[in-house]
Symmetry: C2
């Protein structure tokens, strides 16, 4: 009985760990949704991805630090910033954020993934202001036109892939690592499986009991939930070549600067229309599509989202301050 | 009688011109009032000076273009931008504004007055974004530690002078040119002074009537109103050496980052306290003082302005979106 109780106590702890794992937040907050010219209502591009309370900043248009404050994001938790390309509306807020971290006494290093020219710009801005940052900036250059892994740890893998735009531009994917299998609690208790063996079983191992009988993993565990994937595609012209990179994303953010009647304009400027963003989402069989980077000409966005949904029904508008579960 | 009527008709036109001259708007709008780290309520430094519907932008912190839109400033009318120094909170909004002008199809040249390093930064940002501006940028370098005239036309003279800060920093003065003297309408009509001579008289000339009698200017005109002067001093430590440059300003904007109990902090960082800003205003015998560049530590500014007024009663807080008559 005492042993049973131990198992139960243990199970409680395990369940708690397991529970925190499955409820681990993966959600995206939109900080800016406008295209190149901001409006009085919409700010330039920036999003913050929360993966279990670790924050990743994706693009950093002018005003991002004010938006982070406005929406009460704990922005000191951001250690990695991803810049898609060096059009002003995607990075002009970065220098201000870096200065603010300095003034707030940040000590932790900060990783920036970008086209290499960003480093020169930031260096010049630091020099002009006579600032020697209190923390280290670690630049990770993204070479033009390459798909590669940018960051990897136990929980997440982050990669980039080329988009179709007038200057070197990359999209990003954030992939949750395959979760461990779920233990079937009753089986673990009934078979009195020692604590030490549970880690192996969660990874897919079988269990041999004291009588030498093998219990296959499939009887002890259930499959983990599908890993979550967030894909970010901005700015880009219509480009089906990106589909393999963003396949099956839980959430795809794809720019939709124009409605489809402005397709010629979109093609010329290498931006996308509503229908083009939706077509990419459909081809990539993503769960959900989020559109943004709206042209300043659209005050009201109802028609923009309605047109998108004619091709891909599970589409949403990127609204500043809103969070989207992944 | 016909002649008299002509004169009266003429007087009406003249009065109208004169009237538009004296009511010619000189007013300042504050776009940003925070010190280096913006808050969710306050933006970094920027002000727009309206001199008879000609707009001058002074400093251009991050988010200035959004503030210009929010407060419905006709920002295409800005042809001259003055940057006090290259700390990020005073210029990081400039690149975004320049890109926006380009995207809006601006053709008119734009003059920028600044420390020369700004040109390098903007050049690099234009290069990184692959942008060739549709309009010309005319940079006017301000050499370190110099007081000099930056701009001059019939109506206004703009000068800079050195402030006391950690990087090369300049304050600016905007001086209305001496107005023409006011015609005494009754005298002009009674003496039947020909239209052609009025311009000379407004400039101080006497009038010789058809009998050869000289009517001295003092009998024909009254003195014009004192020319308006706006002086901008941010960022700066306490520095009475600036007094001669800002003497008798109609409106002095002087930074007051800290309350006076933080004087040591102000000295160290070469910023000013409330009492120091007020002391400069008093020494310079200005008409009105406007304080700003408030530290993020002050949520509420009542004590800040009250402390300032103990030394200089006619002081106001710089509030974003507010305009201040000059």
């Amino acid at each position: 009985l005492l042993f049973k109780w131990n198992i139960i106590a243990f199970r409680t702890v395990q369940s708690y760990n397991y529970f925190t794992f499955i409820i681990m937040k993966w959600e995206l907050m939109v900080l800016g949704s406008s295209s190149a010219t901001p409006t009085s209502e919409r700010n330039p591009s920036a999003q913050v991805l929360n993966c279990g309370d670790r924050l990743f900043l994706i693009d950093c248009g002018e005003g991002t630090q004010m938006q982070l404050r406005k929406f009460k994001v704990k922005f000191q938790r951001i250690d990695h910033i991803f810049i898609s390309h060096l059009h002003g509306d995607h990075y002009l807020g970065l220098a201000g954020l870096l200065f603010t971290y300095h003034l707030l006494g940040r000590k932790k290093g900060l990783h920036i993934y970008s086209n290499p020219e960003l480093r020169e710009i930031i260096d010049l801005q630091l020099k002009a202001s006579g600032t020697r940052l209190l923390y280290s900036l670690i630049f990770h250059d993204i070479p033009e036109n390459k798909a590669l892994s940018l960051f990897e740890d136990k929980k997440i893998g982050i990669s980039c892939f080329p988009l179709l735009h007038r200057v070197p531009t990359h999209g990003f994917t954030f992939r949750q690592k395959i979760a461990e299998r779920n233990l079937i609690k009753e089986k673990i208790a009934d078979l009195e499986i020692p604590i030490q063996q549970l880690a192996t079983i969660k990874k897919g191992g079988d269990f041999t009991d004291k009588y030498g009988k093998i219990h296959p993993n499939s009887e002890l565990t259930t499959a983990p939930p599908a890993p979550r994937i967030f894909a970010y595609c901005s700015d880009t012209g219509f480009n089906p070549k990106i589909v393999p990179y963003i396949k099956n994303a839980s959430l795809l953010y794809h720019e939709a600067t124009f409605m489809h009647n402005m397709r010629a304009n979109a093609d010329e400027k290498q931006h996308s229309t509503t229908i083009q963003a939706a077509t990419i989402a459909k081809k990539a069989q993503v769960n959900k599509l989020l559109i943004g980077h709206f042209s300043a000409r659209y005050d009201e966005l109802t028609e923009v989202i309605e047109e998108t949904r004619t091709v891909f029904p599970d589409a949403e508008l990127a609204i500043e301050g809103n969070t989207y579960k992944i």
